[in-house]
Each structure stands twice: as C-alpha cells, then as structure tokens.
Amino acid sequence: MMTARTTRAGDGDLFAALPEVDEEAQRRLHARLVAAANHAGILDVAYRTIDTPVGTLLLAATEQGLVRVAYPREDHDMVLDQLANRVSPRVLRAPARLDMAAREIEEYFAGRRSLFDLPLDLQLSHGFRRTVLSHLPEIGYGKTASYAAIAAAVGNPKAVRAVGTACATNPLPVVVPCHRVVRSDGTVGRYVGGTDAKKALLTLEAAA
C-alpha cells in the first residue's frame, strides 16, 4: 500500500482516495435532486420503467399526466431523446410521479382492471390523430372495432388509413386502447408494440 502511494505515477493516483464513482452517494444525491426539482416545479418529465408480460414498458409523465408509454422495440433511449426535444429536456428518472400509472398497468395485466383512471397529457398527438385517440376509450374492454368503424365514428369514413396512422403513432399504447382497433377482415393488424403484443392484450381482455 505504501509503496503504491509513494510511486510517482500519474497525478491521478493522488486522488485515489477520492472515488471516481461513489454509487451510494449518486443514488442519495439523485433522489435529493428529484425531490428539489419537483418542489421547484421544474421536473417537466418524470419517467420509470415497468416489467409486463409484453416487455418492459417505459412510462413518462408531465405535471399534467401520463404523456408516453413506450414498448422496448421503440427504443427507450430514443423515446427519452424525443421527449427531451418535443416536451422538455428537463427529464429525470423519478418513479414516484408514475406510481399510480404503474399500479393501474400492473392491475390491468393481472386481469383486475378494465378501465384506466389516470390523468393523461395528449400533447404528443395533434389534430386528426388526437381526435382518433380520444375516441378509442369508447371501445370497451374485451371488445374490438375496425379501422373503418373508427373512421366512421370520428365523422370521416374515408380516413381509414389515417386512423391506422393515428393508432400506429399512439403515444400512450395500452392505456389508450389502440390495440382494440383491428382490420375489417378479422385479422389483428399492425401494432406499435408488435403484432404479438397486440394479440397478447386482446387474449388477456377476452379471458377476463
């Protein structure tokens, strides 16, 4: 020990007693930053992840409500970059704000919840797409509707393809039930979380 210390290696060795990374301290300080930022009203986007039968979901919320749910195939790092650019770069991993959302999603996957009762922030969806998304909760748990039926319901029966786009770009999958929109020929159609995830959700809802 003494020989190592008295060796005149790089000046960096002088500071060997001062750890480069002190994980315990980083955890403590991160929690303190989250609390202070929240208190100061500058925690614009809080996020966490949650493990579900269809993969690890990223959940993000503004002060208004849940703003994003993302499947792993969307690439969580890319989704966080998008949130930084489109909502605010003041983004922190801060699970507490998402406790209620996480609990409801867990209950949903356990078959104990058929309706989400969460404040939503739809700012990532605009215009016609947003109109479509706001109609989706009308398709009840365990039911499905065709893209054409949704187009008709929003008063634009020719916009079948645009309804498909609205579903494909749903920033809040699972919670805003775009998985209940299927093709007129009875096949499930495409899904932001992948066709298998869509089938899994429809199977879950049919069984309950």
Partner: protein, 160 residues
C-alpha cells in the same frame, strides 16, 4: 440534434462534479454544493446551447455554489475558527476525509480550486482560468504549486 435528457447529464457528469465539490469543500459540505449545482443547472438547462461544453458549464456553476458555501461557512465560523473538524459520519467512504481532505484543506483556496478543476474535472487551464478569473498561466502555476504541496503533505504521510 437538441439537448439530451437531463438524466443523461446527471449520469455522465454527476460523479465528476461530486469529486470536484468534495475536493474543494470537503466531505460534509460537498453534498449541498452538488445538489445546488444540479438544481441550478436543471433550471437553466433548456436555454443551454446544444454545442456547449457541458462539463465546463457544470464546473462553473459548482464553483459559484462552492464559493457561496465557503462564504457562508466563514461567516458562521468567525468566533470558533480554530476548532478541529470532526470526522463526518454521514456515509462518506471511510478514510479519505482524514488524510486527503486534510491535505487539500491545508492548500490555499485558489490552489485547491485549480487542482480540482484541472486534475479532477480535466478542464484545460484556459477553461480553469475562465472559471476562476486570471490568466491560464496563473492557473497553471497555482495547480503546479498545489500538486507539489499535496504530494509533500499527503503522499509522504505528513498530513494530520
């Protein structure tokens, strides 16, 4: 490309800023300085130009927060200046405060700052000078003197 999520900034630079705060302020006050630095940085972050040198920006903020703390400390400490520091018990890794911090604390503030900003944060002397004021040459001399004194006091086991 725009700004990264602030979480990535905390993850990438948090440990270095903590080392800097610890080297300048010691184990006890470092937590407060780090917290104020990152809260302040997060406040200003949306206005930061995406091509900015984030590390120099954070060290500049940390420097100001540390100076504020030192001022507050000296105001509080006026009548009892010479009391020995009690070893902190709030979860710092054992030992570093007694040896390395004693040696750092013995340095003049300017030397301690230049050593921390150059050797721990890795800022070039031009950036260190921008943070501290003064010329890059003065920063280089202060850092060299600081490192020499630190070697003498700490590596040769003369620190108390």
């Amino acid at each position: 490309m725009g700004l990264q999520p602030f979480e990535a900034i905390v993850a990438e630079y948090g440990p270095t800023v903590l080392r800097v705060c610890r080297a300048v302020l010691g184990p006890t006050a470092a937590d407060d300085a780090w917290s104020e630095t990152f809260l302040s940085a997060m406040q200003a972050y949306p206005d930061l130009r995406p091509d900015s040198n984030v590390e120099a920006w954070l060290v500049t903020i940390a420097h100001r927060k540390a100076v504020d703390q030192l001022r507050a400390e000296s105001r509080r400490a006026v009548p009892t200046d010479d009391l020995p520091e009690k070893p902190s018990k709030d979860g710092m890794p054992g030992g570093w405060e007694s040896d390395l911090w004693a040696a750092l604390k013995a340095l003049p503030l300017k030397q301690r700052q230049t050593v921390a900003y150059h050797y721990l944060a890795g800022l070039p002397y031009a950036d260190v000078a921008a943070v501290l004021g003064g010329s890059p040459d003065a920063a280089r001399r202060a850092a060299a003197d600081g490192i020499t004194a630190l070697r003498k006091a700490y590596l040769k086991g003369e620190a108390r």
